[in-house]
């Protein structure tokens, strides 16, 4: 027989002035299964708690109902208190007679009636409570970072510096991402390579960091603290263990291929390093273009390599490892503007280029060694038009959102042109200039002082006539059509999530918004966490942003990872779903409604009509279950149930008032 204790709290006069607490206690004392009922002035106070502890000991209580304020206020307090008694902390129900009774009703008689009902419901429920025990899961103290751009590098370094092992996975043959393509960074005009390559080298050499380039993650199972990740190592055809990176192979390779790192502005070889400062500084073979791999002819590199590192038989490889935390830093791409903007020539004019192409043109290590030359004829452009918001803020053609960084790098581009080309003219077509950042507005001011002409209006058409690119716009500030005859046009195109990033994120159980940006757990309060515990995100994977914000977010994600890895074990809530396997039909309805993919269908040995058989039933991953109960509402039989809110408990609550 249950021995329930019921404590009715006065909460000073908060409850007692409206609810006749003594009458409630009296009524509670009459309820089935109640051994002890009393009131208390301030139940949450130390003395109030002492009084409960005493009553538990004295009356040998095995469960407790406290009628007081909302459980959202003191449920934890009272559970903690119960750990110091003989009662399991989960043998507790709270009747909310303050927020949902005394504070909202004025009729004392009726409020007292209602308080009795609420206590009755709580007693009915507590009678079906079972002791629950938190369990702990070990934390595998190792972090996986997906994406080797500046965000991934920063996060990896921060975690590694704190003493934990990190695996940094990058699908390209080198880490570095987009930042290493850039020439200078706004607003300080630091050389981008000068500040990013040391970070790359540091990451490459760090004893706690394992670099895995030309790799992608292909599967993730498990849960916070214990993710099993399968990593696909794409064939490189070069043995990086023995290769010294001497470069002979690359020098002699006869096959020339469009260099995508240089945004198609130059050529590279079929065996190549992504760029001179690549980390690791070792080449790979581009299987799409290598004539040996395509037609079995050539093999020059293999013949020349003094160490025999070339392996044309190289195959993809799968490596499975366990990680406690995952950081997604999958980055961005630029939209394919040519497809979206036929009115800008749709890519047919060589001298209409993207912002990233301009970065390569102006970059000292780029195809022109930093001389701004038109791709069409190599001439130095005297008049340059910069068009902002190409694909951004344009839901009809591309993206509805603002890409955030373009206003500033457009100003930077204008500044660089005016600085490098004497007597040049720069026209910047803009819709709004957005400069919310330290030193940003000042940089914009300076660019205008340099002589950049800002024209408020979106360009409608760009076409070539007489060797000039005619840009037609409106200066909306004077309300007149304007045209500029330019030598070169730079389109500051919208960012979009890196190709394949939503698929990669989905592998790790992270969802993306309608544009494909990965979704954070809460836009304000949990900006680097995701709905999947133990998976974090940073950088442009989450949305367009500039380098300072990216790096800040990477460090924030690292801090979250460190908070997790610092623990040896994680305590899990015991209020999770459990399956009554013998009754489960294996229909999978629960699996379909589970928001955190905590339920999987597994084959288990079972008895059926006296025979040993293998059946498929639902299984809950206690590390993933978030305790929402969607599964138990979906289950027709009721064989998956939520501990703490079981079907029986809720039915008892419903029935409580009507039992004689």
């Amino acid at each position: 027989m249950a021995r329930t204790g019921v404590i009715i709290c006065h909460c000073g006069s908060n409850i007692a002035s409206v609810v006749d607490v003594e009458r409630v206690a009296l009524a509670a004392g009459q309820m089935p299964g109640v051994t002890y009922a009393a009131t208390n002035k301030y139940t949450c106070s130390i003395s109030g708690q002492d009084m409960i502890k005493q009553a538990i000991a004295e009356h040998e209580l095995d469960r407790l109902v406290i009628a007081s304020c909302t459980p959202r206020m003191h449920e934890t307090t009272f559970r903690k208190m119960l750990t110091k008694t003989s009662i399991n902390p989960y043998m507790l129900e709270i009747a909310n007679i303050r927020e949902q009774c005394s504070w909202v009703h004025t009729d004392k008689e009726k409020a007292t009636e209602k308080a009795i009902d609420l206590v009755h419901m709580a007693v009915a429920k507590v009678l079906k409570d079972q002791p629950l025990f938190t369990s702990s899961i070990p934390v595998h103290k190792k972090c996986l970072v997906v994406g080797g751009g500046i965000a991934g590098i920063q996060a990896a370094l921060d975690v590694a510096e704190a003493g934990y092992e990190v695996t940094l996975v990058e699908r390209e043959p080198s880490i570095g991402g987009k930042m290493v393509m850039l020439d200078k960074t706004f607003p300080t005009l630091d050389c981008s390579a000068c500040i990013s390559t040391p970070k790359m080298a540091e990451a490459g050499a760090h004893p706690n960091i394992r670099l895995m380039t030309s790799c992608e993650i292909s599967a993730v199972t498990g849960y916070i603290g214990n993710f099993q990740v399968t990593i696909r190592q794409k064939p490189r055809y070069v043995n990086h263990d023995t290769c010294t990176g001497c470069g002979l192979c690359e020098e002699k390779c006869p096959t020339k291929v469009t260099n995508l790192f240089d945004q198609s502005l130059s050529k590279r070889k079929a065996i190549y390093k992504l760029f001179p400062q690549a980390v690791p500084a070792k080449p790979v073979i581009d299987s799409e273009h290598c004539t040996m791999l395509k037609s079995g002819k050539c093999g020059l590199c293999s013949k020349l390599c003094p160490l025999g590192c070339i392996n044309f038989e190289d195959q993809e490889d799968f490596i499975t490892e366990t990680f406690g935390a995952i950081v997604l830093a999958t980055g961005y791409d630029l939209i394919d503007w040519a497809k979206a903007y036929p009115e800008y020539g749709g890519g047919k004019y060589a001298n209409v280029i993207s912002g990233l192409q301009f970065e390569r043109l102006v970059n000292a290590s780029g195809p022109t060694e930093g001389h701004i030359q038109r791709p069409g004829d190599g001439a130095e452009p005297k008049t340059v038009v910069i068009v902002k918001c190409v694909g951004s803020r344009d839901p009809a053609k591309a993206k509805a959102y603002c890409s955030r960084a373009c206003c500033m790098y457009a100003a930077k581009h204008a500044h660089q042109i005016l600085e490098k080309i004497e007597g040049s003219k720069v026209y910047v077509f803009y819709i709004d200039v957005r400069t919310p950042g330290k030193g940003y507005e000042e940089f914009y001011d300076k660019t205008r002082a340099d002589g950049a002409v800002y024209i408020r209006g979106r360009v409608s058409k760009i076409y070539e006539e007489g060797g000039k690119l005619i840009c037609k716009g409106e200066d909306t500030l004077i309300g007149k059509q304007v045209a500029v005859e330019a030598d070169m046009v730079v389109l500051e195109t919208a960012m979009e999530p890196a190709h394949g990033s939503t698929e990669t994120a989905a592998t790790a159980g992270v969802s993306a918004d309608k544009d494909g940006w990965l979704t954070e757990a809460h836009p304000k309060l949990r900006p680097v966490e995701t709905q999947t515990a133990g998976v974090y995100l940073c950088g442009t994977a989450q949305g367009p942003k500039d380098i300072p914000d990216t790096v800040a977010q990477a460090s924030a994600a690292a801090a979250k990872v460190l908070g997790l890895l610092a623990k040896d074990e994680l305590e899990t809530s015991p209020m999770i779903s459990v399956v009554d396997a013998p009754k489960c039909s294996g229909c999978g309805f629960c699996e379909q409604v589970c928001p955190v993919k905590a339920i999987s269908m597994v084959d288990v040995p079972s008895m059926y009509n006296g025979k040993r058989v293998t059946r498929t039933v639902a299984q809950v991953n206690s590390g993933l279950c978030s305790g929402c109960g969607a599964c138990s509402a979906a289950c027709r039989t009721g064989c998956i149930d939520l501990l703490g809110f079981t079907n029986k408990q809720i039915l008892e609550e419903v029935d409580a008032l009507w039992q004689e």
Binding site: T70, V104, C628
Partner: protein, 147 residues
């Protein structure tokens, strides 16, 4: 509980409120000392997606005059998607109950966020009045005339 004679009949309403939004909204109504009728009895559930439609049938069967299911606004679910399933379940259940001859309005569902204390109060006011107008639940209540 004591049986109440017909003259003094007051509707009794059962409400399932999700812990993260509506239950919090109801607490906020209390914190702001808003006043609403005392006819409502709230059952706290982690998510409106936890509410099995059979709980509704049980509520009517046992004698509640009205049943209300409340949760976060679609899109704001603490568990991401729970209330989208809730919406589907109860769109269907509501129609089934009406088809079964249970008066329209006895069962209702509402989205009320943790900040919408006033909406919670107004909902309780409105639902109470609507159910008062419908009169006691005779159609689905366990009664003495059942064997």
């Amino acid at each position: 509980m004591a049986r109440i004679d017909a003259e003094n009949w007051e509707p009794k309403i059962l409400a399932f409120c999700c812990n993260w939004c509506t239950y919090t909204g109801a607490d906020l109504a209390g914190l702001n000392r808003m006043k609403y009728p005392d006819n409502i009895r709230i059952v706290r559930v982690p998510c409106s997606g936890r509410v099995n439609p059979q709980f509704i049938l049980r509520g009517f069967q046992k004698g509640y005059d009205g049943v209300l299911v409340c949760g976060c606004h679609p899109g704001d679910c603490h568990y991401t998607s729970g209330n989208y399933f809730t919406r589907r379940r109860f769109l269907l259940m509501k129609r089934l109950l009406e088809y079964a001859g249970i008066e329209t309005g006895r069962f209702q569902a509402r989205w009320i966020s943790g900040a919408e204390a006033a909406k919670f109060r107004d909902t309780v006011l409105k639902v109470t009045e609507e159910i008062r107008a419908l009169g006691p639940n005779h159609r689905m209540k366990e009664a003495d005339d059942h064997e």
